[in-house]
Amino acid sequence: MTTATPLPGDVDALAEGIATVLPMGATPVMGHSVIFGLDPLWLSATILIATYAILLSEKLNRTVVVLIGAGLVIVTGVISQAQAIAGIDFNTIALLTGMMIIVSITRVSGVFEFVAIWSTKKVNADPMGILIVLSIVTAVFSAFLDNLTTVLLVVPVALLIVEKLNISPYPFLFSQILAANIGGTATLIGDPPNILIGSATGLTFMQFMTNMGPLSVIVLIVMVPLFKLLWAKGLIADEKHRERVMGFREADSIKDVVLLKKSLTVLALVIAGFIIGEQYHVLPGTTAMLGAAILLLVVSWGETEHNQAARLHEAMQEVEWPALFFFIGLFVIVAGVEHAGMLTILGKALTEFTGGDLEATAYATLWLSAVVSAAVDNIPFVATMIPLVESMEPAFGGRDIMEPVWWSLALGACLGGNGSLIGAAANVMVSGLGARAGYPISFFTFLKIGMPLMLLSVAIAHLYVWLRYFF
């Protein structure tokens, strides 16, 4: 399907382009009827908004809420079950599942603790130095693994170090949150919004690395002096306490050298597979699941059938099934609004708002996604934005031209997570760990630090998008 590229600013032509090019227009194409003859457009929008509202209230479990929403989309006839299943992005589900299995096996080796302690000793247990290196460690791990696992493994070590140094843990908790979200921005697999965007658009692992990676590094570099400015004064430890940290034996944190070698090899192969597989049209979901299966094979090689089954069972138990079903439910709800045509209308509205200007659309997407992601879970937001942005593509002249908008969406959603304590799953996890350890983080205390730093990072991203794509 080809579409003549409209001239910038020709809003009507763009809007018309959207309406004529999209297979699903404002009038839904469905093979079955909607309950009580209701308008599918409004029905699907109501289900989506109600689901968002309940999610925002945090009164009910988020997975249960979206599964009910997904069920309603089908039983009310907005879409059929076949359309709902077709709407589920199994590449994303497979990628998440595969990486969860790989990380669950790898973490047992103790490699995460090793790196955290090793880097701590490299800065002679100087508190500010530790804060910076642990931020870098978390950012790097977050780029290649999921953020939740990263903070779950690094934060306890950071808290133990802080306890030994007898200093305040808050700067460490805050910096860990910020670093996890900044690092996660860098790659296709770093943060769920990127996984969703990569899977929906076909943007490759290397494209993410080369487009998002540099910005992630820049933001982290900018954050370091700000961390110093914010916290260096209070982070002072005496020699006796620093010696205790220097006495940590990082080598002893490696519990299973053979497992370490096997799991790191498979992890490296999977990342290589993400890069190479793109040339052969092998999607990241396949690579991750195949990697997980190979790792399960090599770690249980030579063991009895019973032990192999036990290891598989253990790995499967560590898969976060509620998170996966949350994604599945979301995909179905979004498929509902997409089929009903709501997102086409919103896409048209956004195009009109930005005057059909690609640059303005990119900036609007960046800031909108950042602000919304700070206030609500960025996963449902991005899941909804994807078909919306897709609906705008033909009018702007195709995916290649729209790439800056996609990068803006990813940057805004990932960096926006730093805006508040509920902005991303890693924030909630760190705050929960802190509270359990007796260091609760209040919403407003985090907001005072997180929001300005988030706005700064998005401003940097704005500048980056301008320089990189429009200068």
Binding site: F114, L152, F248, E250, S253, R436
Partner: protein, 191 residues
Amino acid sequence: MDCRTMMAPIKTSLFADEPAARAIDFMVEKHMGLVPVTERDGTFAGLISGDSLMGFMLPKTISIMSRVERAMSHASYLDESAEEMQERLVSVRGKTIGELVDRQVRTVTPDTPLIDALMLITGKQYVVPVVDEENKLLGAISFFSVLYGLHEEYDRETAQKAKQKERAQRKLEKEAARKKLEEESDKESEE
């Protein structure tokens, strides 16, 4: 059978407002790993255990994070000196017993069926406090009190059976003697 039957009385009470040092010394001296604690008015406050004391002896982060799923499975990299552990012991001794007790403890009343207490013990609550309707501590049921109670019951039954056996034996002997006498007197009369 109800809990009253197997309940052991609490001979020495630890009070929640006393220094933890007293509980530590008491547990070390008596070799007890789990002791019920009361308020001054006799109300049950909770159990103080060797487990929880050890938890306080660990670095705070490890003690807490080891209970968070997947967060910290080991801390082998930590090589602590005796001085560091001593510092924590001093800090623990300075707390009150009330700060160390586990208050999430299941209790029973004297009328509770014994089987319920046994199920709690099997579920790893090794001491089950017995309280009255005002939550006043009356005693406790444990592995030892149950075995001791059963042993006593066994002894009582065994002693009773032995007596019965003895009585029966004596009766048989008397009967045999009587028969013998009768036979002898019959013989004499025949002669």
